[in-house]
Amino acid sequence: MEVYLEAMEEILRMESITKVYPNGIVANKNVDFSVRKGEIHAIVGENGAGKSTLMKILFGMEQPEEGEIKLKGETINISSPSAAIRYGIGMVHQHFMLVPSLTVAENLVMGIEPKRNNFFFDYKKAVQMTDEVSKKYNLSIDPKAVVDTLAVGKKQKIEILKALVRGAEILILDEPTAVLTPQETKELFEELINLKNQGFTIIFISHKLKEVKQITDRLTILRNGRSMGVHDTKNTSEQEISRLMVGRDVLLKVEKEPAKPGKTVLKTNQLSYYSDADTPVVKKIDMDIKTGQILGIAGVEGNGQGELVDLLTGMKKASGGHILIHGKETTELSVKEVRDMKVSHIPEDRMIYGVSGDGSIEENLISDRFDEKKYNIRLLMNVKKLTELAKQLVADYSIRCASEKQQVRMLSGGNIQKVVVAREFSSEPELIIANQPTRGIDVGSTEFIRKQLVKLRDKGTAVLLVSADLNEVLELSDSLMVMYEGEIVAYFQDASVVTEMELGLYMLGLKRMSEKELGGVMSG
């Protein structure tokens, strides 16, 4: 542990913070964190490393089980966001906390409205306040504009102004660039540096190392809820940061034989998807997965991977291009029709798309096959047979539970994921689309699921693996693609030759393959 002697400048300190969520997930374990006045301090870490939890604790949205927070040397108790605001801590949330139909000025003064005659809301004053604060901090915005009509970058400005107008000295920005265009990001950075020069302290949560290098003074790395130490940004290379973030030492080795790819199972042709906004989320993707092959898709989250999976599984309809499974066009088919073609899907968010939390383990396990003839006796379900099946799956996939009738919600994250995996893997799939299959679950379950994936591949199943976890994609994939801003920017037919650093360069958009190099996507 490095010791910092510049206690004089320290404005905030969080000491041995431990947070355990009711479902047993340890989000933070003995985390120490301190920031100095007037610095931009990054908190970096992978998804689920505990960055957001730590900041929610600081902003009073969560209460820690252990640990204390000191502001300017005094121990404080931050019981709610309003308390945090009173202590001069402001937060710019990833999802904006704005009221769309109100104007900028109205949003800004919400909760601290200026009054006329002690009764009426003084809108003129609100506009004036907005003008003043936006001029003072050089964050130009039209106070009378309706928020709904503004671009994302402007909305973020309002959020920053909201914190400033309430007297925040410490600003927490939760992945502020995730939603911004490169131009908006540049503008934001200029504004942040300007604020820093005026004495504000900024905590910058990110997993984009390039940005962290570019703008921060120091950084704290979190991994699996633990702090991996504090570092001066300028003395730390991106490689070092990523090594500490990912932690090569806990790398899970999966034994696997070389792949024996057979015939094509899934093929896409110029597959595109546009969201409501006018930016393409998935851009002209060509890919090809064969039997007995795991194709990994690496990439920073939010680069179109989720939408790609939704297109392939029929949950979203393509704006352009084609999807072919076993040579048959499935672009317009429903989810059920796609699944009936022996396609399994491990969704990104298990609680929303994976299971019904209120249902029992058994109900969840049989939810994709209760309508099959062999499980029914005319109009009625063959409950006995279904229970037998559920019992068998619980045993096969070692789902730790009191009984197969237990409510899924009561299980741990790893066991919930095993319920999903048991259902999806036991239906004799020919194509598995696994989106973040081991996110946020314990090491044991992770290892189990990874081994199962490889086992199915050896039996001839085609697997598409989408993961933000670099270890996972590198370990499991036979071939590997990198997605950046909706496009495939790299393709490696042999994933074993790729290094993490190389992958990182593509993931961060620092490097991309030429059309010719990518040609391998189609032929490979």
Partner: protein, 311 residues
Amino acid sequence: MGSLFDLIFSTTFGYSVLRVTTPILFATLGAMISIKAGVVNISMEGTMLTAALTGVVISGYTGSALAGLIAAVLIGMLLGLVLAYFALNLKTNIILAAIAINLMASGGTIFALFVISGDRGISSSINSQMLPRIIIPIIDRIPVLGGIFSNHNVLTYVSLLSVVLVYILLYKTPLGLRIRAVGENSHAAESVGISVRKVQYISLIMSGAFAGFGGAYMSMGYVSRFSTDMTAGRGFIALAAEALGMGRPLGVLLASLLFGAADALSTSLQRFRIPSEFVQMLPYLVTIIGLIIYAVRQSNATKRHKMEDRV
């Protein structure tokens, strides 16, 4: 049909439109405040009914119409508070809680009336008071206008004035800004330290107060007694009027007048040989058609927007 036009363009008809609009307008304003705060109060019907009985009983007991009115408004606020407690503290579904209030009011008022006065269904033995009518000095002498706008019950004027007051409340006071913020994005309001629960409590109590005014008018202005289920769905019409008025004070006033006009028409038309059930159906038909047009236009706009994006 010439006589139909004579009827509609008569001052008597204009007068009766305002007369029957009053309770609908009160209930609609109440519904609007609750909906703006994101906690729809569908117990307006039951609350009005309870307030109507309370007004009759208290005014009969004290001999004061004002006391009856105050009691009616207080009972309205109390029921708003009860709904808020169930929905916000006990976390019951607000629709179910409101349905319970409506059902309780329907049976409870008959029971309470019987216990208090021994009357069955109609409060004939209670000597309840009427709220006064007001003759507006100058307007009264203007032909046509005087006939339509003067000599109404005091609460009719209060209801019209309330439109302005609610507008000021929602758009010109800090509380109004908070109500709108809470209803549209409660997380945003919470994140700046606004107590969402407090704002919703206040909104539901205010909506109950408006239902109280509406109820008092029904039994101490529109007619001079309480009778079983006398609100006859006005609390629900209010929800339709709120939607048709698109949640804006002026729109809500116009929508209420539309329903009032339909109501007045159905009464007047009974002298023609059109079945009154058919005529009474009109306001609802108007609502449904209005809402369909609104919805179709909205979804077309969204579609166009999407198509433009694709290009």
